[in-house]
């Protein structure tokens, strides 16, 4: 496998790997390092790549495990929290823009507080839009368990968002 082959294989999902890493590690730099690490691991094992049935799912599993390991390790003590890169559509008023920006940041910080398992599921389902079969392969869980966890996560987010929206409590 040449470098060009590898790049074209990895291209479609490297952003997904990065976003999952960022969801778990929060800091952009940490997530970039993690993604780099994952891609290098894939590259070093490129002879075996053709044996994998689904390289994308395999990479996502790898990313999940790698990030959870990172979080457990001591180096994770100096993880820093970095702002999300939200871009607002420019045609609403400034007031609305500020408000929208704020609430979008809230969503990010609410997801931040979820347990890691739910974080991963929300990331894979709501942001990357994988179907349940794929997620169950990536996480090695059955679909019902995933649905339950996802439902819990969504309800928590909804609840907190409603509270924030109605009372302005963070």
């Amino acid at each position: 496998m040449t470098q060009a082959d590898f790049v074209s294989l990895v291209m479609p999902f490297k952003d997904k790997v990065f976003r999952l890493a960022k969801r778990l590690l929060v800091s952009r730099e940490e997530a970039e390092d993690a993604t780099q690490e994952i891609l290098l691991k894939l590259w070093n094992n490129k002879q075996k790549i053709s044996d994998y049935k689904n390289v994308e799912a395999f990479s996502m599993t790898m990313t999940k495990n790698f990030c959870l390991d990172r979080l457990k390790s001591k180096q994770a003590q100096n993880l820093k929290i970095v702002h999300s890169n939200y871009q607002d559509n420019s045609h609403s008023s400034l007031q609305k823009q500020v408000e929208a920006r704020d609430s979008v940041d809230w969503v990010s910080s609410i997801i931040e507080t979820l347990p890691e398992q739910q974080k991963i599921i929300v990331q894979l389902r709501d942001i990357e839009q994988y179907d349940f079969a794929e997620i169950s392969k990536m996480l090695d869980m059955n679909e019902t368990a995933i649905r339950v966890a996802l439902s819990r996560a969504r309800k928590t987010i909804r609840e907190q968002l409603t509270n924030t929206h109605s009372y302005g409590i963070k």
Partner: protein
């Protein structure tokens, strides 16, 4: 009608029963400008999902590191080969004489003379050692005398006790 539909979808969404198509429908609805006021608080959620999807990994990954390490590996192999040659070459090309017969008659004569001289010296040394044996005997006799003298001092001690 649309609103009703959306509310149903949201209900299903919360129970994680929506399909990907239905979720796309929800995202489309909430990213539009006219969202029903009582559903306003869902908006940031879907806007967030859509916006986060845009985030991309921009860092370059150095994929060429593998080649460098290969070169280093070969350098070590080359170093070992050079070392081995260094040890082997003197042994293989070594044509210096191995036995006495390989030497010229002059050298052989010289060797025999030296050998004789050394043998002569060693014989003299042996003689010297045997004469040293006499000294050893003298020292033995001396020790015996000292032992006997100790009786005398013992006798002195007892006489002193008596005199007291």
């Amino acid at each position: 009608m649309v609103l009703n539909n959306i509310e149903n979808l949201l209900e299903k969404y919360d129970n994680a029963e929506t399909t990907l198509q239905e979720e796309a429908q929800l995202r489309a609805y909430f990213s539009s400008e006219d969202v029903a006021p009582h559903l306003e608080h869902y908006k940031p959620l879907f806007v967030y999902f859509t916006s986060t999807q845009q985030e991309a990994f921009t860092k370059d990954v150095p994929l060429n590191t593998k080649k460098k390490t290969r070169l280093y590996q070969w350098i070590s192999v080359a170093a070992v080969a050079v070392l081995m040659l260094g040890i082997m070459i003197p042994q293989v090309w070594d044509n210096s004489p191995k036995t006495l017969a390989d030497y010229t008659p002059e050298e052989q004569e010289l060797y025999n003379k030296t050998k004789n001289a050394l043998a002569f010296m060693s014989a003299n040394f042996n003689e010297g050692t045997s004469s040293l044996n006499v000294l050893e005997m003298a020292s033995d006799n001396l020790n015996a005398g000292i032992y006997k003298a100790s009786f005398v001092s013992e006798f002195g001690k007892t006489t002193n006790k008596l005199l007291k």
